[in-house]
């Protein structure tokens, strides 16, 4: 059903046009003898066709069309303007001012029906295209979301693969990723970056895949030579993930390479200092160390939260970026919630 808005200050014309519109079929006419009231109606309602007279008191047809077109979303709705035969200049002005076509008075039913039907076909086409565009947009969103979900799942599983060769757990990955997100929030990096670090942080130790078992799983202290090999996991992780088309994997590469750097330049693999260390690396360093300290491992007991906090505070400006430590401690209630949510025996999904 098409809504046809008819505006004419003459009752006889309103009645005539209404009768002709009803003869078109599938049309519901809405009548106004006052263009200002019609404009008010148009603010809340969307007609499929507007038929407007030129000469009316208060506001003529040209001004009505201008005001109508200025309303949001009304720039493509077909408009027919009714003019007298002698008003050629008005017709030109109407066409330039946003009318799609015009009708001449006295109204001829054949001409009226043909022009009105053309305009309604145009409107049907517009609606079809708009619906199709919306449908395609929704489809693309769904597909993109599916792909992103799969990407996230693969990243999580890849990260788990690395962690399986290590005494650490899936819950550790979840906790340190969420701690990283808390720090990003405290640093006011914005929702997009918070999400990105949440998704990228789990890849921090993916390079452990390339470390021999006799070193990775060695129960005792590593020799200096073995430690050198162990340090290689940062660069291996980077090599695995770098140059990806995925923003998450590129962020993961940055995290893998830089999460063992220390703020005072004594970390590895590049010995970067302060702001030279990528921000995600500085964030993940705090999150990873805090979770490692507060988790129980076969070779060590879990530190108390107080001791772990003290370690972070003592490490400000040495091991850790002071601002990252501050952001972490500022989000303490969220940290506790994450610890509760991701316990070592359970591995909920991100």
């Amino acid at each position: 059903m098409h809504t046809v808005l008819i505006i004419d200050d003459s009752d006889i014309n309103l009645t005539l046009i209404k009768a002709l519109v009803l003869k078109l079929g599938e049309c519901s006419p809405v009548l106004f003898d006052n263009p200002l009231k019609a404009l008010e109606w148009c603010r809340e309602n969307e007609p499929d066709l507007v038929i407007v007279d030129y000469m009316m008191p208060e506001m003529d047809g040209l001004r009505f069309i201008g005001a109508f077109r200025a309303l949001h979303g009304r720039d493509e709705i077909p408009v027919l303007m009714i003019t007298a035969n002698d008003q050629k200049d008005v017709r030109y002005e109407a066409l330039l001012g946003g009318a799609n076509d015009f009708l001449t008075k006295p109204i001829d039913r054949v001409e009226f029906s043909a022009r009105a039907r053309n305009m309604l076909s145009l409107r049907t086409g517009q609606k079809f295209l708009a619906d199709r565009a919306k449908h395609l947009e929704k489809l693309v969103d769904e597909r993109t979301s599916d792909i992103r979900q799969r990407e996230k799942e693969l990243i999580f599983r890849m990260s788990r693969a690395a962690e399986f060769r290590d005494p650490e757990t899936g819950a550790h990955i979840q906790r340190m990723a969420h701690y990283s997100q808390i720090i990003a929030r405290g640093l006011d990096l914005g929702p997009a970056m918070e999400k990105l670090i949440l998704e990228a942080a789990p890849m921090h130790d993916v390079g452990k895949i390339g470390i021999p078992d006799y070193i990775l799983l060695k129960p005792g202290k590593l020799t200096p030579e073995e430690f050198e090999v162990m340090k290689g996991h940062a660069r291996i992780g980077y090599e695995l993930l770098k140059d990806s088309g995925s923003e998450i994997l590129r962020a993961g590469a940055e995290v893998a390479l830089s999460h063992h750097e220390k703020y005072d330049g004594t970390g590895y693999p590049q010995g970067l200092k302060g702001g030279q260390i990528p921000q995600f690396g500085r964030i993940v360093a705090v999150a990873d160390v805090f979770d490692a300290l507060t988790s129980e491992r076969p070779y060590k007991r879990a530190w108390s939260l107080d001791d772990a906090c003290r370690f972070l505070e003592d490490g400000r400006g040495k091991h850790f970026d002071p601002m990252c430590v501050e952001a972490f401690l500022a989000g303490w209630e969220d940290v506790i919630e994450v610890r509760q949510r991701f316990r070592d025996e359970e591995i909920p999904q991100i």
Binding site: D11, I12, L16, P57, A84, K105, P106, D108, R109, V110
Partner: protein
């Protein structure tokens, strides 16, 4: 001065797609409103407001054209044009003629 109005029912109906129902409705509305339209033109002229005279003449032009009264519509157009130019000085006779024309058309439609 326009010639006498001759009701050409066939041409009006042709324009209305042969629809008798719409034709009857138009005639009824014209007859219902004709006195008011005539009075509105006279009152606009008496008030000396050229834009109102122009608008009322325009309305009458449309009404007369609807009933295929080309001569009457031409008279209304002449009034409309003069009013648009702000020239009301010698329009008294033309306004009177137009009022008479409206009554003449109404009578013809009543006789139908």
């Amino acid at each position: 001065m326009a010639g006498p109005f001759v009701l050409d029912r066939a041409s009006i109906l042709d324009r209305l797609g042969g629809d008798e129902e719409i034709y009857s409705m138009m005639v009824d509305m014209f007859l219902d409103d004709v006195e008011a339209n005539s009075a509105a033109l006279a009152s606009a002229f008496a008030s000396g407001e050229a834009t109102v005279v122009q608008r009322e003449a325009h309305t009458i032009k449309g009404l007369l054209a609807t009933f295929s009264d080309d001569d009457g519509a031409a008279e209304a157009l002449a009034v409309e044009k003069k009013a648009r130019a702000g020239d009301l000085a010698r329009l008294g006779d033309a306004v009177g003629d137009l009022q008479r024309r409206l009554r003449e058309v109404a009578n013809a439609l009543r006789a139908g």
